[in-house]
Amino acid sequence: AQSVTQLDSQVPVFEEAPVELRCNYSSSVSVYLFWYVQYPNQGLQLLLKYLSGSTLVKGINGFEAEFNKSQTSFHLRKPSVHISDTAEYFCAVTAGGTSYGKLTFGQGTILTVHP
């Protein structure tokens, strides 16, 4: 079984500041890792994913994440945030192989960007 911990439930930042949203996972097998974003009153949208290959993954809207196997982390970063990045962000993991694509989600991090 796998689990995901998002270390911050809320992250307030000022516009144009850098941000890092932290995610740690545990799994006994190889994993695929995801970050989703949910804007207010909207559905889930995939930001980026790590399947294999380069550990630095670039996603939409200027976000990137780095897979660190030794630290079992997949932190999300953006060098300069905008007001429009205000949303809830979810880290998720699924095991490789025949897992039927079951996703385990973290508890979510609410990012609030202030002017």
Partner: protein, 110 residues
């Protein structure tokens, strides 16, 4: 574009009612999932199905059942709704490792 649709965006029901939440996908995916989303808890898996008439319990199946009679449709059933089932319910379908989410149904049980 894959579409995952859910029958209602908002639903209000009374305690003890039987509630059906419907989910339909148009990509012939074998795998379908029901999650509930609650503040501070993220999304938690209720049930999933990996083929017609096949289902498995997720992490929080108590108080729920599911039905998958056709590949494209996966229904979540609350046999006797309770107030603690007030939540946002999200359906998803997948062709691993990609998955697609529906818009969600916000269920309020009074």
């Amino acid at each position: 574009d894959v579409k995952v649709t859910q029958s209602s965006r908002y639903l209000v029901k009374r305690t003890g009612e039987k509630v059906f939440l419907e989910c339909v996908q148009d990509m012939d995916h074998e795998n379908m999932f029901w999650y509930r989303q609650d503040p501070g808890l993220g999304l938690r898996l209720i049930y999933f199905s990996y083929d017609v008439k096949m289902k498995e319990k997720g992490d929080i199946p108590e108080g729920y059942s599911v039905s998958r009679e056709k590949k494209e449709r996966f229904s979540l059933i609350l046999e006797s709704a309770s107030t603690n089932q007030t939540s946002m319910y999200l359906c998803a379908s997948s062709l691993p490792p990609r998955r697609f989410f529906g818009p969600g149904t916000r269920l309020t049980v009074l």
